[in-house]
């Protein structure tokens, strides 16, 4: 019997030579086309880009021919320059390669069959937990008058690419070729900021690889005149592609929005739609997002809150502890650090005697070093949040457009300023002078007497102050994102400023007041100043919260939806934070008033300390809520895929440990 066993392989070798397009002499399909992509034998019409007349401008007034608006001074300014796809120097044969292209989606036709998604995954080798293109859906009506509308969405290669502008590393490029917005994963350091600003969930942050990648428009196929892989794979005749504003053959509508699609005015996305079938007045999402879409009198569908989890308030305190912890720590420490420096320094500049004295004391250096340490720790936290922390230095590459780059740059300058101040303070610092004298036999004051140290400290200090304010300003600007209405609000600014003041007052107050106490000086004046700043900080934060609550309660968008989650899933934690803040403001104000009226003695420092520490706790809850709650203006998901609720569940029960589940396990 052994004989037959061994001849297994030879039994079953192919009897017929398989079809081999390269072997057949003529490949007419490839003729006249560049070598970027091998056109299939007997390729069908649906796969080729059509030859249609092209409009001069799109509906927003932008030129469709992008060559004319390309920035000058590029390497090869002429029309026929190579894109160097995979370093291939050949120039694409597509005659319209410098025109803005875009997807066309016939929502009437999509059957939700996932062919586009799988064609994309196959071509781009994306793992199961990632996708450049995703199909979600909205549904409405009542059985049997039920309507489901599937939406297939990838990158819209926008006229105003907020991802490109937001990216601190300049990993993004908008090419004159096809208007493609391409991202280089090897430049990306995985901060995920582009995934915050994009309203369509196009950039994909891979938590496993720690970097972002996204739809590349299949520019290799475009170069030879073929439509992207997803379009060519479409089985419902729903997806199409071409020069923007061109309506495909057999289609009669070319509009910019459908139910579930975010406001196109945010980025002027290069996608057009046909959706002629009537939909029910209300369309719901199958995923866990508390958003549905309601038709207004103009026939447009706008997001409204969908109270999916009822109205009951919960604590969910443990859920405040999330993957965003480094950002909670980063922002709080950075803001506090700015406050720690700003309060005594500006106070001294404004001529507060006690603070002028303090700044000239030996304790000024420890205060600056505290500031520096807090900032450094904060920056370290922000770096640890990156997918690729070792690429942190790329964070300033896009100062021209990115608020995040500017935030980082501001904070870096702030740290540098603190460092310089510390350096300039060394020669006049009592302890340093002592140590230098004893160990190295150096007389520092003597050595540096020609340097205008006091002026240097003052000038550097002003510079540092400005850098700190700029850092704080752009930290706030990072969150003023149209795609995240929960953040895109005054509340972000008030919270950041307020925390800077209230937390900064605590730390600098402790250092300054304890110094004055040791020096046996009067602390009444500074205590009043720190207490006032502390209270002001909390009041600013409180006002922001009141306005936020007032407006979001009336906002029928993703911001309102996030607020709904804040008031239900985290309802009790949210209230606790608000009550604590209110209590703190009232208690502190009473305390300060009594102090100013000399009813009580300023020696109630311990009470102040307790209140200030309570405020730290409040600030942490507040900031954790800030990050956990944000709901982006993103595309509807499906029941499993692109459903945050299911992803969380899959992680909780261990289903995510199987890579075929398509949920990155995150541990």
């Amino acid at each position: 019997m052994t004989e037959e066993v061994t001849i297994n392989e030879t039994n079953t070798t192919s009897a017929v030579q398989s079809f081999d397009p390269k072997a057949s002499a003529s490949t007419p399909e490839q003729e006249g086309r560049s070598n970027h992509w091998e056109v299939r034998t007997q390729e069908q019409n649906y796969a080729y880009l059509p030859d249609q007349p092209i409009k001069e401008k799109n509906r927003y007034g932008k030129r469709i021919d992008l060559l004319d608006i390309t920035d000058v001074g590029i390497e090869q300014p002429e029309a026929n320059r190579s894109m160097f796809i995979n370093e291939n120097p050949e120039v694409g044969s597509n005659p319209n390669r410098n025109k803005q292209h875009g997807f066309f989606f016939t929502a009437d036709n999509c059957i939700g069959c996932h062919a586009c998604e799988s064609a994309c995954a196959e071509k781009n080798d994306t793992p199961a937990h990632l996708a450049f293109r995703s199909v979600g859906y909205v549904e409405g009506g009542s059985y049997p008058d039920y309507k489901r509308m599937n939406i297939s969405m990838a990158c819209n290669h926008c006229d105003d690419p907020v991802c490109l502008k937001g990216c601190p590393t300049r990993a993004y490029t908008k090419h004159a070729e096809y208007g493609a917005v391409l991202q280089d994963p090897e430049t990306c350091f995985g901060c995920g900021y582009c995934t915050w600003v994009c309203p369509y969930n196009a950039p994909q942050l891979d938590p496993v690889k720690g970097q972002v990648s996204k739809c590349n428009m299949c520019v290799d196929r475009l170069e030879v005149g073929l439509k992207p892989a997803c379009v060519s794979a479409c089985v419902g005749n729903a997806l199409d592609f071409g020069v923007i504003e061109n309506t495909p053959e057999n289609r009669e509508q070319c509009k910019t929005s459908i139910p579930g699609f975010p406001d196109p005015s945010i980025t002027q996305p290069n996608i057009r739609f046909q959706q002629t079938k009537s939909m029910p007045i209300e369309m719901t999402r199958p995923d866990s997002m508390p958003v549905k879409y309601h038709r207004n009198e103009k026939g447009d569908y706008k997001p409204v809150i969908d109270q999916k989890t009822g109205k009951a308030k919960h604590w969910n305190f443990s859920k405040l502890n999330s993957r965003e912890n480094p950002l909670v720590i980063f922002t709080l420490f950075a803001q506090a650090a700015i406050g720690v420096f700003f309060i005594p320094f500006l106070g001294a500049l404004l001529g507060v005697d006690a603070l002028i004295n303090f700044n000239q004391s030996a304790m000024f250096l420890p205060l600056i070093i505290t500031t520096l340490t807090m900032t450094t720790f904060a920056l370290l936290m922000s770096v640890s949040h990156l997918g690729k922390p070792h690429r942190f230095y790329r964070g300033f590459n896009n100062l021209r457009h990115s608020p995040m780059a500017r935030e980082g740059f501001g904070l870096a300058l702030f740290s540098a300023g603190c460092g310089l101040i510390a350096l300039f303070s060394l020669p006049t610092n009592f302890w340093v002078v002592e140590v230098a004298q004893q160990t190295l036999a150096l007389d520092l004051p003597q050595l540096t007497r020609d340097f205008p140290l006091a002026t240097l400290i003052k000038v550097t200090g002003i510079f540092t102050l400005i850098a700190g304010f700029a850092g704080l300003f752009y930290m706030n600007m990072c969150y003023q994102i149209k795609a995240r209405p929960f953040w895109n609000h005054l509340q972000t600014a008030t919270s950041f400023t307020g925390n800077s003041l209230s937390l900064g007052a605590l730390v600098s107050g402790v250092i300054v007041i304890s110094t004055l106490l040791v020096q046996k000086q009067d602390i009444n004046q500074v205590l009043t100043i720190f207490a006032s700043v502390f209270i002001t900080g909390m009041i600013i934060e409180g006002i922001g919260l009141i306005v936020h609550n007032y407006q979001l309660n009336r906002n029928e968008d993703e911001g309102g939806a996030a607020h709904y989650v804040q008031c239900t899933t985290f309802g009790k934690s949210y209230l606790l934070r608000n009550y604590l803040l209110a209590f703190n403001i009232i208690a502190s104000t009473i305390l300060l008033t009594l102090q100013l009226l000399n009813v009580i003695d300023s020696s109630l420092l311990l009470v102040w300390l307790v209140l200030a520490i309570l405020n730290c706790f409040t600030a942490v809850i507040g900031r954790a809520l800030f990050y956990i709650l944000v709901i982006p203006t993103t595309m509807p998901g499906a029941f499993f895929w692109r459903n945050k609720g299911f992803e969380q569940h899959a992680r909780d029960i261990g289903l995510a440990d199987n890579p075929a589940t398509g949920v990155a396990p995150l541990h």
Binding site: I74, F84, K308, F646
Partner: protein
């Protein structure tokens, strides 16, 4: 570059660097799409693409086909033969020789002790036609058991039975090109966008060129139902009432094609008499479709110059499956819609080679649509194989769904399961589990070692899959297409053809019958057997003109394709001449009387339970459950439930519930959607230890196909943490 960039960033797009494209056909469903697999420099698979020049799919593929080339190395594949004495012991690795020897010895022991039929063979619709034919030769010619069937009993048996009763032989008479010519399209219990996306695309292409009415009969608002011009949300299991009622309208209003009926059918008077009991006024109360709609649809269908019907499991998987098919045939026969462009009765088949097993496996008879009951057929095959015709039984034995219960009664003691997973796929899992547990000997031959049924096997044969082997498929439109061997067999797995051939050597008749090693030599045998006549007319199932070379050149050829035929076209439609393979040459009009024997929703079990397929999964997920980019779209079982019904029971979206039926229970996650009626739930059938723990599966009297889609359940709350744990534990992929 815009936005101020001057220096270019590298553009890196994965390059597949294909050295050679190899032709093959998809191994999932019966659409029969042509695929080219791209091999890289080291002859490893790097990519695949639809063949743009293939008439079936014209370059398109569905999600499963696009990702199919990833399955060769997926987890859980069988690497070596395994053996054990008792099912509760651990497997030990063994040699092919030993595994085959032990199996052959056990088969013979059981047959000696309990009779030849005490050992059953149950195969599949997944093998290649040459393998089916060889398995038939082995089972009918060497092992000699009459209890031999395929799992096609779970999907296509009703279509086969209905075709045979109406037309005299199996074989779908239409083709996809009919979409281009039809003037009225009616789908019964068929959800093309989800089950057969490429066939849907062909339909959509036809609709974009020329609008024609789309009528969909389905209790659930599927995508196809939503896109229909007229959707008939029928009461489950009552299709025969609807069709009878439509025929009542057609016949009583004189809309039938009398000339066609007279020339090509027999039995019209009986039909005419029967349908008088199905006045739409009465029928509407039974089938849930109002009388106006029934009349409207009936007139539309009858008045169309060409009208066609398709159906899938909504018809087949019911207690009136065979009758349903016969009744659809009745509808098309009385309106003259058989064998003409755009006018047909087209069963949309399930498995990739369900047709191949129907044609050549000898499950229900002898190869090439021959019958055991026919002495000439027995003689012809016995002569061709070189054995005594008396070795053949004179009547077909049990179907799969009768073989399993025969384990309970002790008639069946041993079984060979080939590429089928009854532990997940058959109704009433707990009953199947008990049956498999009690077998004296079970051999499982499958691509995957972790196929759930393997829990109860004594010997496991690791089989090769898809393009690790070579051979043919026949698709829904009778198109024979080729699977090429492109990659070496995985580990020590073997092609099923090789396994059958080796087994044959261990039986007496195996030494008399020729068992060619090469697939094309087997194909040539089938070609020979496909020639000739039946009832004095040339056989329809004639593939004598085909060769692998021609098939690959034509990217599939539709039978009949005789050795005298010129060109590569084949025959798109059967019965275009109005001559049917019955004794009289006329088609039978079969009166179908409806009786409702389904388990109905009641106070204790108030919901209809419906089951079906989702696009990203195939059958019991042994393949698609392991390909992440398929599986992620439904990685865990779920149930569609109406939100209004859920509200009444306090059930929330995305929570778990426990379902109970008179058979058992299942835990599923709830997806609330108005797609289903208030008194119905829908659960995909792909998941192990799930919906089939609940199903009843009453058998169709003709086809023995189970009614998967009609039974009743109760919905109960369940501890969410416990349910989540069960959900993860109940299946390993």
């Amino acid at each position: 570059m815009l936005f101020g960039r001057k220096k270019r960033k590298p553009i890196t797009i994965p390059q597949k660097k294909v050295k050679e494209w190899k032709y093959t056909t998809c191994n999932y469903c019966s659409t029969g799409c042509s695929i080219e697999i791209g091999l890289g420099e080291d002859n490893k698979i790097v990519t695949s693409r639809g063949h743009a020049g293939a008439d079936v799919n014209r370059g398109k593929l569905c999600i499963k086909g696009i990702l199919e080339h990833e399955l060769f190395t997926s987890p859980g594949r069988g690497t070596e033969p395994l053996i054990r004495d008792k099912h509760f012991e651990e497997f030990e690795q063994t040699t092919w020789d030993n595994a085959l020897d032990v199996t052959a010895t056990k088969i013979k022991e059981i047959q000696q002790k309990y009779g030849r039929d005490a050992f059953a063979v149950v195969s599949t619709g997944q093998l290649l036609t040459e393998e089916f034919y060889t398995l038939g030769k082995l089972t009918r010619g060497c092992i000699g058991t009459n209890n031999y069937d395929g799992n096609t009993t779970l999907c296509m048996a009703s279509a086969v039975s209905g075709y045979k009763r109406s037309f005299g032989a199996d074989g779908p008479p239409g083709c996809y090109d009919d979409f281009e010519h039809t003037h009225c399209f009616m789908a019964f219990g068929s959800n093309l966008p989800e089950q057969h996306p490429i066939i849907y695309w062909r339909l959509k292409e036809a609709l974009e060129k020329r609008k024609f009415p789309l009528i969909v009969v389905d209790p659930r608002v599927t995508m196809l139902a939503q896109f229909a011009d007229i959707h008939l949300p029928i009461t489950p299991g009552t299709d025969c009432v609807l069709i009878n009622s439509m025929m009542h309208v057609i016949i009583n209003e004189g809309l039938q094609d009398t000339a066609y009926i007279d020339a090509h059918t027999q039995g019209f008077d009986e039909i005419k008499a029967l349908v008088q009991d199905y006045d739409p006024k009465v029928a509407q109360h039974e089938c849930g479709i109002d009388e106006d709609t029934i009349r409207n649809v009936a007139r539309l269908y009858a008045n169309a110059p060409a009208a066609m019907s398709i159906w899938t499991m909504g018809i087949n998987q019911s207690t009136h499956g065979s009758d349903g098919v016969a009744n659809i045939n009745n509808l098309n026969l009385i309106t003259g819609n058989i064998g003409k462009p755009g006018g047909t009765s087209l069963s949309i088949t399930g498995q990739c080679n369900a047709m191949g097993t129907r044609e050549w496996s000898s499950c229900s008879g002898l190869p090439g649509y021959r019958y055991l009951e026919n002495a000439d057929d027995r003689q012809e095959i016995a002569d061709y194989w070189g054995i005594d015709p008396e070795f053949f039984p004179k009547q077909r034995g049990m179907a799969q769904t009768d073989i399993f219960p025969a384990i309970e009664t002790g008639e069946i003691k041993g079984m060979w399961l080939v590429a089928t997973n009854p532990m997940t796929s058959m109704p009433n899992t707990s009953r199947i589990r008990k049956m498999l547990e009690s077998l004296d000997f079970l051999v499982v031959q499958d691509v995957y070692r972790d196929v759930e049924t393997n829990q109860y096997s004594h010997v496991y044969f690791p089989a090769s899959v898809w393009s690790e082997k070579e051979g043919c498929h026949t698709n829904t439109e009778r198109r024979v297409n080729l699977i090429s061997k492109i990659v070496p067999c995985f580990a020590n797995s073997k092609p099923d053809l090789w396994i059958f051939n080796q087994m044959a050597k261990r039986f007496e008749n195996g030494k008399k019958i020729k068992f060619p090693d090469k697939a094309e030599d087997v194909f040539n045998e089938m070609k020979e057997l496909s020639k000739g006549q039946s009832y004095g007319r040339p056989r329809n199932l004639d593939i004598s003109g085909m060769s692998y070379e021609k098939i690959i050149k034509a990217r599939g050829i539709q039978w009949p394709y005789r050795d005298t035929d010129e060109g590569l076209k084949g025959t798109p439609r059967l019965y275009s001449d109005g001559i049917f393979p019955t004794k009289s040459g006329k088609a039978n009009l079969i009166p179908v009387k409806f009786f409702n024997n389904n388990e109905q929703p009641c106070n204790d079990y108030p919901f209809w339970l419906n089951s079906g397929r989702v696009v990203e999964h195939f059958h019991t997920r042994t393949r698609t459950g392991k390909i992440g980019n398929c599986n992620k779209f439904s990685p865990t079982p779920y149930m569609e439930m109406n939100p209004d019904a859920a509200l009444a029971l306090g059930i929330e979206h995305m929570s778990y519930v426990r379902l109970t039926s008179r058979r058992g229970d299942a835990v599923v996650m709830v997806q609330l959607t108005q797609r289903v009626a208030q008194n119905m739930v829908f659960i995909p059938f792909h998941f192990h230890d799930c919906v089939n723990r609940l199903t009843l599966g009453l058998l169709d009297p003709y086809s023995r196909q189970p009614a998967f889609k009609q039974c009743s359940v109760r919905i109960q709350p369940v501890d969410q943490a416990e349910a989540a744990r069960l959900n993860v534990e109940r299946r390993s992929y």
